[in-house]
């Protein structure tokens, strides 16, 4: 294997894609920019990725895997379903708010993202996000359907607060997230029998 064929060429190219996107957004990032940022030749880049669209797709996948790991670490020590829901809300909101690439895109080319949250497209986005969150509730909610509905509810509420923050109550404040979850969300998705079990 030549040094350029090593598996970390892919990682370096994705790192470079991340840096370029965070700097100038999607429209102004070219394959040449990414190759230059990575210190890798154009020809080598094309051996690993078909082009810009493939790089974006692979970076998106990598970021989702990273978020998944953040969620897994966060729920590890949660004793109750309420605690798990609340850390998922806070971690998810912080991940999105602090994300350098999302921040740049929202600032300079928001129409690349806002459609995901609107009519028609929002269904696919919600379903994917709920599927990412749901497994992290597995320790507390047995029923598959209830878990998916609960995860979807968490995603809806988190996105709503990110899109239109409540000036008095920031969703990234753990106490606020806990209060919203305990008051409105846990009773809403675990189902009546499960609520009784929790209260008992």
């Amino acid at each position: 294997m030549t040094p350029e064929a090593s598996p970390d060429v892919r990682a370096r190219l994705l790192d470079a894609t991340f840096v370029c996107l965070a700097r100038v957004g999607i429209a102004k990032t070219s394959v040449d920019d990414i190759a230059r940022e990575a210190g890798i030749s154009r020809a080598t880049l094309y051996r690993h990725f078909g082009g810009k669209a493939e790089l974006l797709e692979a970076l998106g996948q990598r970021e989702l895997t990273r978020l998944d790991a953040v969620f897994a670490a966060a729920v590890q020590d949660c004793a109750t379903v309420g605690a798990a829901c609340s850390v998922l809300v806070v971690e998810g909101a912080e991940f999105l708010l602090d994300h350098p690439v999302l921040g740049t895109i929202l600032a300079i080319e928001p129409t690349a993202i806002t459609p995901l949250l609107s009519l028609g497209h929002a269904d696919a986005f919600l379903t994917a996000a709920a599927a990412l969150v749901a497994p992290h509730l597995a320790a507390h909610v047995d029923d598959d359907a209830a878990r998916l509905r609960g995860a979807e509810l968490l995603v809806r509420i988190t996105l709503s607060h990110l899109q239109s923050p409540n000036p008095q109550r920031s969703i990234t404040d753990p106490q606020v997230a806990q209060a919203i979850v305990d008051q409105y969300i846990v009773p809403g998705f675990v189902g009546k029998s499960a609520i009784e079990r929790i209260q008992a």
Binding site: T111, T114, L117, L126, I157, S160, S164
Partner: protein, 200 residues
């Protein structure tokens, strides 16, 4: 436009321009609608239009979308008028909203022909309606509290904020529950939306 108005009446000029812009969008689409088109359609001068809409074309398009969203919520409020309780109100509201969105011919056409432009505006303009939805729901929550129907610790103002977010979210995206199925929709309203608010 049939409605006569004079330039000394700022409200009606504003209305007239917004309605004319909407008529142009329906005819030409968003991308092709220009300030000149609105001048021709409204019969008002370019100077008058810029006096009321200094942001020009972008502001006209934004205001036309905001006006349609406003009209939509007025019809929604009309439709749920006279509901016996919160469950029926939300049930009928979501049913009507889903159907109205599906049957809005221009909206559906533009979702296909110019989704990016429209969805960006829909997403930013519709979140501005949150306070209105919350204000609409508040008296219903206060009535429920007076009747002793709220769970302990539920504050009507806080609950109206939370519910308004979910209502808007479900209008935009269906999720795993089939909102067109009456039994499933009812179940969603009593669980996801109200289980944390109303006494079991």
């Amino acid at each position: 436009m049939g409605a006569m108005s004079t330039e000394s009446d700022p409200l009606s000029v504003h209305d007239q321009v917004v309605r004319s812009t909407y008529a142009c969008i329906a005819r030409f689409g968003m991308a092709k609608t220009t300030v000149e088109d609105v001048v021709r359609e409204s019969g008002l001068s370019r100077a008058t239009i810029y006096r009321h809409f200094p942001g020009g074309r972008d502001e006209l398009l934004r205001e036309a979308v905001a006006w349609q969203i406003g009209e939509f919520f007025i019809r929604l409020a009309d439709h749920v008028e006279g509901s016996a309780d919160l469950v029926e109100l939300l049930d009928r509201g979501i049913e009507f909203a889903r159907q109205a969105v599906r049957e809005h011919a221009l909206l559906q056409r533009m979702l296909v022909t110019e989704p990016d432009r429209l969805l960006g505006l829909l997403s930013t303009e519709s979140t501005k309606t949150l306070p209105f939805i919350a204000a609409y729901l508040l008296p219903h929550l206060e009535r429920a509290r007076a009747a002793g129907d709220l769970r302990p610790g539920v504050d009507p103002v806080d609950a109206s904020d939370h519910l308004s977010r979910l209502v808007l979210s479900y209008i935009g995206a269906r999720g795993v529950v089939d909102l067109d199925d009456p039994a499933q929709r009812r179940d969603l309203v009593t669980r996801e939306l109200l289980a944390g608010i109303l006494r079991p």
